[in-house]
Subunit: 165 residues, 2 copies
């Protein structure tokens, strides 16, 4: 299974295409989509949409995992994250991909076994589990890896539940 993990944001959207191998998790792609802060929001969303479409067309993931929007005190950031996530989910939907959402706690729990793990621990665990010498940077790329790992781990259990129905 090839899964596209997305950590959405208007200024930076992290993405990672990971796949389950016989003995671990392989990295097909990892990176960040940036949009210029000095441009109108409409233009930035169009750019983000086109870039996510491009990632999907290039790496052909089969499913998409995205971190749920966390609305915080910073109204402007929250609005940007909401809009960016809407556009990223739309790109996935139009490519015919199923989208799965995970809360930050679910992601941390899946990666480190502890839902309140500090950011540094999550990133170090991500690097180790992907067999990378260094943490993928910037943080958004590491977060995209984390949500993709979370999805890959959750899949076997979900498939079992579906079979049991």
């Amino acid at each position: 299974l090839f899964v596209l993990g997305i950590d959405p944001g208007l200024s930076r959207t992290g993405f990672a295409v990971l796949h389950q191998t016989g003995h671990g998790i392989g990295v097909a792609a990892v990176g960040v989509i940036r949009t210029p802060p000095d441009r109108p929001v409409a233009e930035r969303l169009a750019e983000l949409f086109g870039d996510v479409e491009q990632v999907i067309a290039t790496y052909r993931p089969e499913e998409v995992a995205i971190e749920e929007v966390f609305v915080n005190q910073n109204l402007q950031t929250s609005t940007g994250v909401g809009r960016a996530s809407g556009v990223a989910i739309l790109a996935a939907a139009r490519a015919g991909l199923k989208v799965f959402e995970y809360t930050p706690t679910e992601v941390k729990n899946a990666v480190t076994g502890y839902g309140k793990a500090p950011k540094g621990q999550v990133e170090a665990t991500v690097a180790r589990r992907l067999g990378l010498a260094a943490v993928p940077g910037p943080a958004d790329a590491a977060d995209a890896c984390a949500v993709a790992i979370c999805h890959l781990q959750t899949v076997p259990a979900r498939r079992a539940v579906e079979r049991a129905r």
Copy 2:
């Protein structure tokens, strides 16, 4: 000038295509786009995007006015509004239309002359100014009319500023 006003939401997105006539504001279209709450978010966003594209293709507005996302206590509604607005703005951007954002206070102020006007007063003023016998329903449609009216009113002043530069 034909302007498309949008009041975004995942369950209901109000839209209104209004235009300035010699003696007032004319209504080309007004309505609501609904998406089924029991379907996955990805599917609903794709449906909303397609419907906004359809409205643009049918009524050929020249500019788009949208109410700024108001993040409130209800996290789920706020997330839905953010995503819906992202997708609506994207549809406008991909059609080559400029998008203008207005806060709820700016909209109320433009329509009624009072930024804290109650909802009922805004709706009644919208109906009167559009020469409609009744308030366009549901509320999302009336809100879309209000933001379009706000934009039509703001245009002359903005054009004057642009000329003066």
